[in-house]
Amino acid sequence: DQQVKQNSPSLSVQEGRISILNCDYTNSMFDYFLWYKKYPAEGPTFLISISSIKDKNEDGRFTVFLNKSAKHLSLHIVPSQPGDSAVYFCAALLSGGYNKLIFGAGTRLAVHP
């Protein structure tokens, strides 16, 4: 049962343009949504999050949008830079005794000059 889905395994974007990474979820009880960035052979690093009571959160070049009625969120990166090339994981949090974080399968972003 995949509760968090990233349906695009890869995305290629030209430097300077906008990158849009999408994520869908099925459980309406999720409290927070997070995006992690992962380089090969490294652990994921936290990028940006959004509470389920918000619809937008912005941090520099990164903006996350949440559409609760559609159970959909997206990460916008603008302008995209070659250093943004990595795998991006969408994750959803079920708060509770151990704060369970459920990850999507990831989207590999390639930003080319």
Partner: protein, 111 residues
């Protein structure tokens, strides 16, 4: 500041051999600890989590086990490795809700 250490970085083990991966956290007390695995071409799958010493919960049935002998130490083990145990293993910690902080991972190849 809080840091998380995970070792070794890479490991090549024969089928049927034992496994022990260690993870330690510094700079915090009573964290929640997690073991994740990323198989080739797959997402991050939660294997085990622990909310305290000696408290281990398993998310999926498998050939692995976990232990937490000390507050800031989390160990992933296997008595006999299978080929399907190959993957990238990640330890993570959290306190309350501040998301997770991940270690640098261990690339395990079972041959």
């Amino acid at each position: 500041s809080q840091t998380i250490h995970q070792w070794p970085a890479t490991l090549v083990q024969p089928v049927g051999s034992p496994l022990s991966l260690e993870c330690t956290v510094e700079g915090t007390s009573n964290p929640n600890l997690y073991w994740y695995r990323q198989a080739a071409g797959r997402g991050l799958q939660l294997l085990f989590y622990s909310v305290g010493i000696g408290q281990i919960s398993s998310e999926v049935p498998q050939n692995l086990s976990a232990s937490r002998p000390q507050d800031r130490q989390f160990i992933l083990s296997s008595k006999k490795l299978l080929l399907s145990d190959s993957g990238f293993y990640l330890c993570a910690w959290s306190i309350g809700f501040n998301g997770y902080t991940f270690g640098s991972g261990t690339r395990l190849t079972v041959v």
